[in-house]
C-alpha cells in the first residue's frame, strides 16, 4: 500500500515533466480562448496530424500575451493569429503595412514565421439588420452620413480603440453620437430593435444567424486582420507544407458559418473543423470520434489534481521549514511574512500572467503560481502554531534534557501540527479553485471546460468543469478531515 502510494507520487511528480519533452515529430499547437481561436487551432492540429505529426493541443490560452510568449519560449510551435494583431500588438507598428513587409519583419525581428492568409479577414465591422439597412438603402459605411438619426450601440473597447469609432467617425465624417454597450448584449439589442447599428468582428457566427448586414468599409479604414498560422521558423518543412494547405481555404462567409455552428448547433470545435476540412478534401475523412465525456472529465480531473498536489507539496516543503526558521530567528519574520503576504494580494490571473516571461506557458508556470499562493496560509499557520505553544512546556522540555531539535520535533511541531494542518488544508482548497484559471496559460485541468464554456456561453460545459472542481474541493476537505482524525488527538484538534 505504502509502495503504491510512493509510486503514484513519483508518477505525479515526473509525468508532467516527461510530457513536456518535445520529441522530433511532436508539435504543440496553441489557441486563444475564443470561438474562432478554437476552430482554427483544431484545423491546424488536424492538418498536422493528417501529415503524420503528433499534436499536443494547448487551447484556452488567455490572450495574445500568452500565446506569443508561448512561441518565444518554445512552449508552443504554432497558433492561429491575425496580421493586424501581429503588427499592432506584437510589433507595435503605427501604420498598416503590406503582408509581404509584415512577413519580413516577423522573420527579422522575432525569428518566427507566418503562413499565407487563410482567406478571410476578421476585422472590426459595423452591422445592421439586413431588413432595416435595405429599407434605408444603406450598404456601406459612407451611406451612414445620410442617416444621422440611426441609433448606434458600440462596445466600450471599440469606442476607444485607435482603429475604433473616434477615428472612424473623423475619417468618414460621421455625425452620430454612439451609446456605449456591453458587447455581449449587443446582438440581443439589435435583434430586438433596441438599437440600429453595432460593432462586431466580421466573422462572428451571429451575423448569418440573425441575418445581419456587414456594412462595406468602402474607404478602407479598418486594418486587415487576416488569419494566418504563426509558427516557429525551425518547424519541419513537412509541417510548414501541411500548414500551407489552410491558405486561401476559408472565406469570411464560411468562417461565419463555422462560428455559428459552434455557437448554435452544440457541435464540438474538433468536429466542426474536421467536417469542414474533410469536405474540402484538405484532410482525409476519418471516422474517429471525440473521446467520451466521462473519459475527458476524468483526464482533466486528474490533471487538476496533479496541479493541486504538486504545488501543495512544493509549498509544504518550503513553507514549513521557512516557518521554523522564522520562529527561531524572529528578525526575519516580519520581512518574510510581509513578502509572502504581498504575493497573496496579486490577483490570480495577474500572477499567472507574471509567470509567463519567467517560465513560458503550460504546466510549470501554473505550478509556480499556485505554489506561491499556497505559501502564505501554510507559512503563517506554521509560525502562529509554533508561537502559540505554551512557553512553560518548552521550558520543561529543555529542563528534562531535550535539546533544541528534539524539542522542535517532539514537542513544538506536534503541538503546532493542528494549526499547520489547517494552513495546508486552506491552501489546498484555494489551489483547487485557482487551478481553474491555470487553463489560461495552457496548464490543462478542469479550467479548460470552464474557459471554453465561457467563450461559448455554454453552461453545460462550464458545469462540466465547475462541478468536478467543487467535488474535488469537498474530497480534499474530507481527506484532510481524515488526516486530522488520524494524526491529532481529539482534544487538540482545531475547531473550525
Amino acid at each position: 500500500m505504502r509502495k503504491t502510494g510512493y509510486s503514484l507520487l513519483l508518477w505525479l511528480l515526473f509525468q508532467p515533466l516527461l510530457s513536456q519533452g518535445q520529441s522530433g515529430d511532436r508539435i504543440t499547437v496553441g489557441a486563444k480562448h475564443f470561438n474562432e481561436g478554437y476552430i482554427l487551432g483544431e484545423m491546424i492540429g488536424l492538418v498536422l496530424e493528417d501529415a503524420g505529426f503528433t499534436v499536443d493541443r494547448k487551447f484556452n490560452l488567455g490572450g495574445t500575451a500568452v500565446t506569443f510568449e508561448g512561441l518565444i519560449n518554445d512552449a508552443l510551435d504554432v497558433y492561429p493569429e491575425y496580421t493586424g494583431t501581429i503588427s499592432t500588438q506584437i510589433l507595435h507598428l503605427e501604420d498598416t503595412i503590406p503582408l509581404e513587409r509584415l512577413r519580413d519583419l516577423v522573420e527579422q525581428k522575432l525569428g518566427l514565421e507566418i503562413s499565407r492568409p487563410y482567406g478571410f479577414n476578421n476585422t472590426y465591422a459595423l452591422l445592421m439588420k439586413r431588413s432595416k439597412a435595405e429599407a434605408l438603402g444603406i450598404s456601406k459605411i459612407s451611406d451612414l452620413i445620410q442617416h444621422p438619426t440611426i441609433r448606434l450601440g458600440l462596445s466600450h473597447e471599440f469606442i476607444n480603440r485607435r482603429d475604433g469609432w473616434k477615428n472612424l467617425a473623423k475619417f468618414y465624417g460621421l455625425p452620430h453620437v454612439p451609446r456605449g454597450l456591453e458587447h455581449g448584449l449587443a446582438y440581443q439589442a439589435i435583434v430586438k430593435d433596441n438599437i440600429d447599428l453595432i460593432d462586431a468582428y466580421s466573422t462572428d457566427g451571429e451575423i448569418s444567424r440573425y441575418d445581419l448586414l456587414l456594412l462595406g468599409d468602402d474607404r478602407n479604414f479598418f486594418p486587415d486582420y487576416q488569419a494566418v498560422s504563426f509558427y516557429q521558423a525551425d518547424l519541419p518543412e513537412e509541417a510548414k507544407k501541411a500548414l500551407g494547405k489552410l491558405s486561401a481555404a476559408i472565406s469570411a462567409e464560411e468562417m461565419q458559418q463555422l462560428n455559428a455552428a459552434a455557437l448554435f448547433e452544440q457541435k464540438s470545435h474538433a468536429d466542426i473543423a474536421k467536417k469542414f476540412l474533410a469536405g474540402k478534401g484538405i484532410i482525409a475523412a476519418s471516422t474517429s470520434t471525440a473521446p467520451s465525456i466521462g473519459g475527458e472529465i476524468l483526464a482533466k480531473t486528474l490533471d487538476h489534481l496533479k496541479l493541486t498536489l504538486l504545488s501543495l507539496l512544493a509549498a509544504i516543503f518550503i513553507a514549513v521549514p521557512l516557518g521554523i526558521v522564522i520562529y527561531r530567528h524572529q528578525r526575519f519574520s516580519t520581512g518574510i511574512l510581509y513578502l509572502v503576504g504581498i504575493m497573496q494580494t496579486i490577483p490570480s490571473i495577474a500572477l499567472l500572467a507574471l509567470m509567463i516571461p519567467l517560465f513560458g506557458i503550460g504546466f510549470l508556470p501554473a505550478i509556480v503560481a499556485l505554489f506561491l499562493y499556497a505559501l502564505l496560509p501554510i507559512l503563517r499557520n506554521t509560525v502562529v502554531g509554533l508561537y502559540t505553544v505554551d512557553p512553560q512546556l518548552k521550558k520543561v522540555a529543555s529542563a528534562i534534557g531535550l535539546n533544541d531539535w528534539k524539542q522542535l520535533a517532539l514537542i513544538e511541531l506536534p503541538l503546532a501540527a493542528p494549526a499547520i494542518l489547517t494552513g495546508i488544508r486552506t491552501a489546498a482548497v484555494i489551489n483547487v479553485g485557482t487551478d481553474t484559471l491555470a487553463a489560461f496559460i495552457g496548464a490543462g485541468g478542469l479550467g479548460e471546460f470552464i474557459v471554453t464554456g465561457l467563450a461559448l456561453n455554454d453552461t453545460d460545459l462550464i458545469l462540466r468543469g465547475a462541478i468536478p472542481s467543487a467535488l474535488l474541493a469537498i474530497v480534499i476537505e474530507l481527506v484532510f478531515e481524515g488526516v486530522e482524525w488520524w494524526a491529532i488527538p481529539k482534544h487538540l484538534r482545531q475547531k473550525i
Binding site: K395, I400, N403, P489, L492
Partner: protein
Amino acid sequence: MELLNVSHAYGDHTVLSGISVAFQKNRITSILGQSGSGKSTLLQIINGMVRPQRGEVLLEGLPLDYENIHELRLNIGYVVQHVGLFPHMTIRDNIGLLGKIARRPPHETHARVLELMDMVRLPLSHLDKYPHQLSGGEQQRAGLCRAMLLRPSLLLMDEPFASLDYGTKQGIYQHLLDIQKLESRTVLMVTHDWEESLLLADHFVWIADGKIKDAGDKSRLKRIKESYLSAVK
C-alpha cells in the same frame, strides 16, 4: 552536588549572592524560603538552565559541562509545580519520553514505566490516556514517574505539590518516601512549606534575600519553626 560561592543577578536585582553549599548524597534536602527569595533560581542554576554570573556548580566533583547540558540533564530528574506533562502525548509516552531520547530499548523503557506507575499507584488503565483525562494528583504522580524514568542520581523538584489539596499531598508524600527507600537518590526540593519540609526532608537549607540564612537536619528545622514561619508570613 556542591555550589561554590555562587552569585547571580537579573539586571540590577541580585537574586543569589555567595551561596556555598554541599548537598548530602542520596538524601532529600529541602530548599526553604518565601517566594522571590531566589530558591527557584538556585534549582535552575543546578541543572544549567541558568548560568551563574559568579561561582561554580560541581556535580560529583566536576564543574557543569554547559556544552553538553542536555545530555547531562537526562541524569537530573526535574519536577515542577504545574507538572508540565505534554498534552499531545499519552501517559505512557510522557513517562517514557526520556527513554526515547536516551535511545533505550523500547521494552526496557516500557518495563520501567510499568514499575514506576506501580510505585506511585497509578492504574495501568491510564497508560493510553492523555494528561487532561487525569486528576491533578494523578498528573503530578505521572510527572514524578517521568522524572525518574532513567534513574537519575539527582532529582530536582520545584514546589512540586503546591497546587494539590491536602489529602492528595499526603498520598504523594508517602509515594515519594517509598521510592526513596527503594532507589535512594539525591533529592533537592524547593518549597515554602515548613511542614512539607519536615515530613519529607532529611536536611534543609533556608534561603532569604539571596543568602543562606540557616541550614541543618530535622531537629534543627524543628527548632527554627517559629522564626521561619514568622519570617515567611
